[in-house]
């Protein structure tokens, strides 16, 4: 059974997702026994691929059936295509703005107990469970499954394809699904988290895909500012302006006074800069 991670890298005008995916791939190589990363690209991003990317990525796959995110600044519309793009039997979906520091290889066997396993608990930089719904009012109001799509495990199975088919319908016909199921408080724009959550709710597969009792697998550190258990009036909406952080020579990520041991979703795209990538390259290549 082949296993690997998958992410979508579609560069926009101002954000270099390919470079972040490259950094992600290097961090996986530095920390994981299973470091396979499949990167899915659109036509334009494909043109930017160089030898270093080919060396770091296990697979580079063209996003099929046109680019549903074409023209969008926030390119999430292709996130229903993962099971069709992955070259692996077992896959974990990641966002490109993530970095791994310590091994989570042991999670794979555990996650294999389900066909689809969605992350339902994330952590602050102090490793506390995030309890704030600051960014998730819609989840609270509509009692949606509290899933974070960017650490979703799936194996190729009937349930998996059924789930992603539903995600496809929601993403392609967002306005229809929004009006029928999602209108009210909170966000009105489409996010992968809301689309995945609604798909789970409509298919009534929450018990099959989520486990709220297990807080530590799968999980990651989510660096959105307002969920860090810091008073809202004391932290900038861009956490990097309020909390010190570094990538050490040992490739450990330190945020505030805390060395991070879980995958880190750094959110702020400029956090991953050329000097950090150089550090990762020096260590891995």
């Amino acid at each position: 059974m082949s296993k690997g991670y998958i992410t979508i890298a579609q560069n926009s005008e101002d954000i270099d997702y390919l470079e972040m995916s490259y950094a992600l791939a290097l961090s996986l190589k530095a920390s994981q026994e299973n470091s396979n990363l499949c990167v899915c690209v659109d036509e334009e991003t494909r043109k930017l691929i160089t030898d270093k990317h080919i060396q770091a990525f296990d697979a580079i796959v063209d996003i099929p059936w046109n680019d549903d995110a074409k023209g969008n600044k926030w390119k999430i519309n292709n996130k229903w295509k993962y099971p069709h793009m992955t070259p692996y039997d077992e896959t974990i979906i990641l966002d490109s703005d993530m970095i791994f520091t310590d091994s989570v290889d042991h999670w794979w066997d555990y996650l294999a107990k389900k066909d689809v396993w969605c992350c339902t608990n994330v952590k602050t930089f102090r490793n506390e469970d995030v309890t704030s719904d600051y960014y998730r009012k819609k989840f609270t109001q509509l009692n949606l499954p509290n899933i974070y799509s960017n650490f979703t495990y799936f194996k190729k199975s009937e349930l998996t394809f059924e789930f992603f088919k539903m995600v496809e319908l929601i993403m392609v016909h967002w306005n229809v699904y929004f009006d029928k199921f999602l209108s009210g408080v909170g966000q009105n724009w489409m996010s992968a988290d809301v689309a995945y959550a609604l798909a789970i709710q409509l298919l009534d597969i929450e018990a099959e895909t989520c486990d709220y009792d297990i807080k530590d697998v799968p999980t990651f550190v989510h660096m959105k500012s307002m969920v860090q258990n810091i008073p809202e009036n004391q932290i900038d909406s861009n956490w990097t302006k309020s909390i010190t952080s570094e990538l050490g020579d040992d490739l450990q990520v330190k945020i505030g006074n805390f060395t991070q041991t879980l995958p880190v979703h750094y959110v702020e795209k400029n956090w991953m800069d050329s000097s950090k990538i150089k550090q990762l390259e020096d260590a891995v290549l």
Partner: protein, 291 residues
């Protein structure tokens, strides 16, 4: 395996800590039974001015005359009276070397033991036990966990802690001592405000460092939180060895107070002047050596 309770006390110009420590020892002796001794660590000056009282309440006295640099803090006696005075709290890091016991329970001189739960610490599998959680008996502080700063690490309360002679505990106190001598640097590193050296901060930093600067849980004491009465509260009446009625500062208006009764539960009374006003009651309800 020897088991001892240790209390630190050094008088300053503001408070008679020796009296307070004696009251605290009396409550510990009355409510706990599985220890061997209660020991006071103090300086020569404090001992000489309170020797009779100290000998009544303590099985053993250890003199530690190490220099205590100026560490000025604000003492509040409700909202009515504020005073600055020296805070002689820097000896705490020496307790590992000073303790003659295999197992030691250290308690602050303003911590009143009113049940026997702390008897459960002895013969623990843990090298160190200390609490991170607390409850404000007045409910003015809503948090259950306090940080050294909103961006910093969780605070562990050095008010009460247990340790056994072990590598972990020895390393912990070595680091605490290092932090003590360099605390301004560590305050900067951990985003701490103020210039007052606090044992709570030093213990929290040392535990954080010793655990590899990752998020961690340190084993807690048998009851995993402290009952804190902050210094805006006052004492109304001391009824017995396990029964105190407090004036708790109202959460909305701290000059108003609500009567609250605490029975069979330990209480950390931070208004030290209030303890002084009731010192005769505390001493009479406590138990002396050989009583």
């Amino acid at each position: 395996m020897s088991r001892g309770i240790i209390i630190f006390a050094q008088n300053n110009e503001y408070l008679n800590y020796a009296e307070q420590a004696s009251a605290c020892a009396g409550y510990a002796r009355k409510n706990l039974s599985l220890f061997d001794e209660i020991c006071l660590i103090t300086n020569t000056e404090t001992l000489e001015s309170n020797e009779t009282l100290i000998n009544e309440y303590f099985d053993r006295v250890i003199i530690s005359d190490t220099f205590q640099p100026d560490n000025i803090r604000l003492f509040k006696d409700t909202t009515n009276k504020l005073d600055y005075a020296s805070f002689k709290n820097m000896g705490r890091s020496d307790v590992y070397d000073l303790s003659p016991y295999d197992e030691t329970l250290v308690i602050d001189s303003d911590y009143f033991i009113m049940n026997n739960v702390l008897d459960q610490v002895w013969d623990s599998v843990n090298d160190v036990m200390i609490n991170c959680n607390y409850r404000d008996v007045s409910e003015r502080h809503k948090e259950n966990i306090e940080y050294l700063d909103n961006f910093s690490i969780p605070m562990y309360w050095a008010t009460v802690f247990y340790f056994r002679k072990s590598d972990f505990a020895e390393n912990l106190f070595t680091i605490i001592s290092h932090i003590k001598y360099n605390f301004k640097y560590y305050y900067y590193l951990y985003n701490c405000s103020g210039n007052l050296y606090r044992n709570d901060f030093a213990f929290s930093m040392a535990l954080h460092i010793l655990n590899g600067s990752v998020a961690f849980d340190v084993p807690s004491l048998p009851i995993n939180y402290l009952n804190n009465s902050f210094d805006l509260d006052d004492i109304f009446r001391v009824n017995s060895r396990n029964d105190i009625i407090m004036y708790c500062a109202d959460a909305e208006r701290v000059t108003d107070h609500v009567l609250s009764r605490f029975t069979n539960t330990d209480l950390h009374i931070m208004n030290k002047k209030a303890i002084g006003r009731f010192i005769d009651d505390f001493l009479s309800y406590g138990e002396k050596v050989n009583e």
